[in-house]
């Protein structure tokens, strides 16, 4: 492998890892606050991508419905991203409100919450299949793909945007979690969930904020995924979302830093194994890595073991 192809693969891995990290953060945020593996998160990512597809196509006037105005590209891109983030956040909060909260209030066994989460994910997926049909969708071209060349190393503006935007957003998330009041409340809940309501913090509000953050980041990943790989299918939540979930487990579920690092670790592993010629085994590698991590260090890289007191 020459240096050029190596660097090329590093770039590809950065892009793929960014998607995984953005989605993985959502899994970890919810786990940290609710101790619930939100199995529906992968499908929330899928909904985000589809919302981006609908909004983008509508704004580009490529649907049958014609808008009375034409928007320039520099307006369409942020509007598509922000609108689908907002709507997906709404979906996340709705799911929390109608499915998880009643169970939590009743003090149901955690198992029931996990089953509900898994079923909500499948429900979203199969509703998509039933309503939109099994046909794959072509994500609209929000902006022209340009190729830059740096001495043999070619780089598209899409790739650059994905990587930079992911870093920016994850930095923002880092700031929210570490420096704001709400972030402090989130960390407090995962540190000691009994003491937090005693301090006058509304746990429900914190949970809502968590779902807003996680879902909107999944939507961002969805729109950018659509831009980078413009074919959307109803089971993408299962296929991509699951790999992100593995990334979260590898990094240590519940830890935001772990989710970010785990995303890039998995991204690099998959891209480099694929580069050495066995691309059909990509999923298998991801899941074998999962088995390996759980066998060696079940709490993941940054996870802390919870001790059970007798």
């Amino acid at each position: 492998m020459t240096l050029e192809t190596f660097l090329q693969n590093v770039l590809n891995a950065m892009q793929w890892g960014s998607f995984l990290a953005l989605i993985a953060v959502g899994y970890s945020l919810v786990y940290g606050v609710l101790l619930l593996i939100n199995f529906a998160h992968g499908d929330i990512f899928m909904v985000g991508a589809y919302l981006g597809y609908f909004i983008g196509t509508l704004l580009l006037n490529q649907f049958n419905i014609q808008l009375p105005f034409d928007l320039p590209a520099w307006v369409i891109i942020p509007v598509t991203i922000l609108l689908s983030m907002a709507l997906t956040a709404l979906l996340g909060v709705t799911i929390e409100r109608i499915a998880y909260r009643p169970l939590r209030r009743r003090g149901a066994h955690r198992l029931y919450l996990v089953i509900t989460a898994l079923m909500i994910g499948l429900e979203l997926e199969y509703l998509n299949l039933a309503l939109l049909g099994p046909r794959d969708r072509q994500f609209p071209t929000l902006f022209e793909r340009q190729v830059f060349n740096f001495g043999g190393l070619s780089m598209t503006n899409v790739k650059l945007l994905v990587i930079l935007l992911s870093f920016l957003v994850m930095g923002l998330l880092w700031f929210i979690v570490q420096k704001t009041k709400w972030g402090m409340a989130m960390r407090a809940i995962s540190y000691d969930r009994l003491a937090v309501p005693l301090m006058g913090i509304s746990v429900d509000n914190v949970i809502v904020i968590t779902f807003i953050l996680g879902s909107s980041m999944a939507a961002l990943a969805g729109v950018m995924y659509g831009t980078a790989y413009p074919i959307l299918s109803f089971d993408m939540g299962l296929l991509v979302g699951w790999q992100a979930f593995i990334a979260a487990v590898v990094g240590g579920i519940g830890s935001i830093r772990g989710a970010m690092v785990g995303g890039y670790i998995l991204g690099f592993t998959q891209i480099f194994v694929a580069a050495y010629g066995t691309s059909t085994y990509r999923d298998l590698i991801a899941f074998s890595l999962l088995l390996l991590i759980l066998a060696i260090r079940p709490t993941g890289i940054f996870g802390v073991a919870r001790r059970t007191k007798v």
């Binding site: 079923m119 499948l122 429900e123 509703l127 899941f287 999962l290």
Partner: protein, 356 residues
């Protein structure tokens, strides 16, 4: 007195199986469709009862039952096609046609054993810790199985594998009996019998103890790790046998038919029937199979119904139809025939805390 009535019960059940399988098919009451539905009911009973052992009695959360079923299906189909039929993949038959009757139960058992061994790979890392790890790993098992099979081009990869129809035809032309259906019901009966005896044995009481309080169980000398691994392997092995039956009943298998949706279907049956209730699982397996057939005209919306059913179940009646009760708790007279103890439900409650 009690032992005699039990023998009578077993004889009656075997007689019943012969009555509902062999006699109607000789009379020609069963067309292929009705026969398939009956086989599917039997297979679903095996799957639901065996998953109930893991998710209900043991209180773990396995989401990958279909993967183990798929392993059994592939192993059994490959072996039976390899041994008794001529196929484009494996060439001429290794054994004469008449042997198929003997080969069939044998490959089912081998399929079950391999599925149990596959489950061991899953069980070893996940039972080190408690919590959601089994859910994570069994979900991964779905993907690992699908990905593995799709990468094996020799056995069809994503296109699937066929030729089991020839095996069943070979069996039927040797001795004219509905063999697959017969074996399905025998295995279903054996599953119910084995699981019922397993959970009421001393070893099996350890499972319930692990579910209720793992640390207390360990202090009471239950070897929790061993109990969990053995139970998991038993459940998955039974699923593997069910897979072998399913493959031979359908005649065509592909990796997608043993993916997450199938796992979910089995889970729906378990939670619908009630965790730690064998008769609940049997009832819901029968009901759910028939329900799915009635929903067939809905086409794609059929797949929306199953998860929704489970969501509503979790919201409004998480204990399912039967809770942790058995049919014998409602009809005490049956206890004479089926019961392992003479405990009533109220007495049992003092031993086993409700799973809710």
């Amino acid at each position: 007195m009690k032992r005699n009535s039990k023998r009578l019960a077993i004889a009656l059940l075997i007689g019943f199986i012969i009555l509902i399988t062999i006699v109607p098919s000789w009379l020609g009451i069963y067309n292929d469709y009705r026969q398939l539905i009956l086989i599917l009911i039997g297979i679903n009973i095996i799957l639901a009862v065996s998953l109930n052992l893991i998710n209900g009695y043991m209180g773990e959360f396995s989401v990958g039952h279909a993967a183990f079923m798929g392993v059994g299906a592939y192993i059994a189909s490959i072996l039976s096609v390899y041994l008794v039929t001529e196929s484009t993949v494996f060439g001429p038959a290794r054994l004469p046609e008449g042997w198929s009757i003997l080969v069939f139960p044998l490959v089912l058992i081998i399929g079950g054993i391999i599925a149990a061994l596959f489950s061991l790979i899953v069980a070893i890392p996940s039972f080190r810790t408690r919590g959601d790890y089994l859910a994570i790993i069994t979900l991964a098992a779905n993907f690992i199985f699908k990905s593995l099979v799709e990468n094996m081009d020799k056995i069809g990869g994503p296109r699937g594998f066929m030729g089991m129809g020839k095996v069943t035809r070979a069996m039927e032309s040797t001795v004219d009996l509905p063999w697959v259906m017969l074996w399905t019901f025998i295995v279903a009966l054996l599953t119910v019998y084995v699981v019922r005896n397993f959970v009421s044995s001393i070893f099996g009481k350890g499972i319930v103890a692990v579910r209720d309080d793992e640390i207390a169980a360990e202090l009471m000398t239950v070897n929790t790790r061993r109990v969990k691994v053995v139970t998991f392997m038993l459940g998955c092995g039974l699923a593997g046998i069910a897979g072998g039956l399913h493959a031979h009943a359908i005649g065509y298998i592909n990796p997608s038919s043993y993916f997450i949706m199938q796992s979910v279907n089995i889970m729906v049956m378990v939670y619908l029937g009630g965790m730690s209730s064998i008769s609940g699982s049997v009832i819901s397996a029968i009901g759910f199979t028939i329900l799915l057939e009635f929903l067939r005209p809905l086409e794609l919306y059929r797949w929306v119904v199953t998860p929704l059913l489970l969501i509503l179940l979790m919201m409004f009646r998480p204990s399912g139809i039967m809770g942790s009760r058995e049919l014998t708790d409602f009809f005490p007279a049956l206890r004479k025939i089926f019961g392992t103890t003479d405990e009533t439900f109220e007495e049992k409650l003092t031993h086993v805390s409700a799973s809710d």
